[in-house]
């Protein structure tokens, strides 16, 4: 189950700069830690976040082991037209989790 919180304003005026926030539940295991039996805990992090707006990529980020668990990202966007703001997080295992929100531009 994807546990992600995305915050996108429901409505905006055309040309307005809006705040976009996204947070996803993920352990972001660095790969540098040892378990109780002395065995290495394998690395398990999100490596890439891609955000699309109306189908076009508007923001992307690469993540590294120094990122905290449950990474939070915030950026701004110019509201050009009504559409879907989608997020896709891909981790080390190749698994991609998604979340999206609609914005209505008037």
């Amino acid at each position: 189950m994807t546990r992600a919180l995305v915050s996108v304003p429901k409505t905006a005026r055309r040309g307005e700069i809006v705040d976009i926030r996204a947070m996803i539940a993920h352990p972001m295991e660095t790969g540098y830690r040892m378990g109780p039996n002395g065995a290495e805990i394998p690395r398990h992090i999100i490596t890439r976040l891609v955000c699309t707006y109306g189908g076009d990529e508007v923001f992307a980020a690469e993540f590294f082991p120094a990122m905290s668990a449950n990474p939070f990202v915030s950026f701004s966007l110019i509201a050009a037209e009504s559409g879907t703001v989608s997020f896709a997080w891909t981790d080390d295992t190749g698994q991609t989790e998604t979340a999206s929100a609609e914005i209505v531009v008037s």
Partner: protein, 258 residues
């Protein structure tokens, strides 16, 4: 007229200083009041509060059917917004069947195994923490309201004794820090008054949500005492005393702490 009044106040202050111990009601402050403004902002905004991820998970589990009964939490309790409002503010409460106090997590576990007929969830598991956080979140903003139940009083007294008993290699009681030195700092961190109003809460140090018992275990390891067992009577007695001590303060679940 003025002078007697002033000396009365001075006397009262002296008396207060002499009986170090309980924090005056007007001086009580939530742990969040001791945090940096950035951490306070993180807690205040639901889109940046990581605890909301567990509230979200808990909301999902609330509606999920489990066990032999084939019923979900919502199947009996309906919408949590209405049915669970104020519940966390009353716990730990008396469990009528056993005649002993039970905390919110214990009650949820009991409901799950006895009424839903589902396999028990481990006490500090993500799923159980998520349901507890979701239920406690429904009381956010409401004052802590410990039940006026005389049968709980002996347990509250046990809790008070545990709180004021020195323990561990460092030979410190909870009260040594949290009643007597809450306005000091310990190695750069605020000591705080130990009010349990934000639990389960997200600790940046843990990178996860955790229970009040986990926090107390931390403190016990800190004074090099052997922690009580998870879900033990001692922890529940301490929780009862802490809730009594924080009566009237607002619930913040999910809190964020450094």
């Amino acid at each position: 007229m003025r002078r007697p009044a002033a000396s009365l106040i001075a006397l009262a202050l002296l008396a207060g200083a002499a009986s170090a111990g309980d924090i005056a009601p007007g001086e009580r402050r939530s742990g969040s009041a001791f945090m940096a403004p950035e951490t306070q902002a993180m807690q205040a905004d639901d889109t940046s509060n990581p605890g909301m991820l567990w509230v979200l998970q808990g909301a999902g589990l609330w509606g999920e059917k489990a066990g032999r009964s084939g019923r979900s939490c919502a199947g009996c309790h309906g919408e949590a917004v209405a049915s669970m409002r104020g519940t966390a503010a009353r716990y730990p409460a008396l469990d009528a069947a056993s005649g002993k106090p039970i905390d919110l997590t214990g009650r949820i576990s009991q409901c799950r195994t006895e009424r839903q007929g589902a396999p028990a969830l481990a006490r500090e598991s993500d799923a159980l923490l998520a349901i507890t956080t979701f239920v406690a979140h429904q009381s956010r903003g409401l004052p802590v309201a410990p039940p006026e139940e005389p049968r709980l009083d002996p347990y509250r007294e046990t809790g008070r004794q545990l709180f004021t008993t020195r323990m561990g290699q460092l030979d410190l009681s909870c009260a040594n820090c949290h009643d007597d030195n809450w306005n000091q700092r310990l190695a750069g961190s605020a000591v705080t008054q130990a009010h349990p109003t934000g639990y389960p809460l997200y600790r940046l140090e843990w990178q996860s949500i955790g229970s009040l018992q986990r926090r107390m275990r931390n403190c016990m390891i800190g004074v090099r005492a052997e922690p009580f067992a998870s879900g033990s009577e001692e922890f529940i007695a301490l929780e009862l005393y802490l809730m009594q001590r924080a009566a009237g303060m607002a619930i913040e679940t999910p809190g964020v702490r450094p």
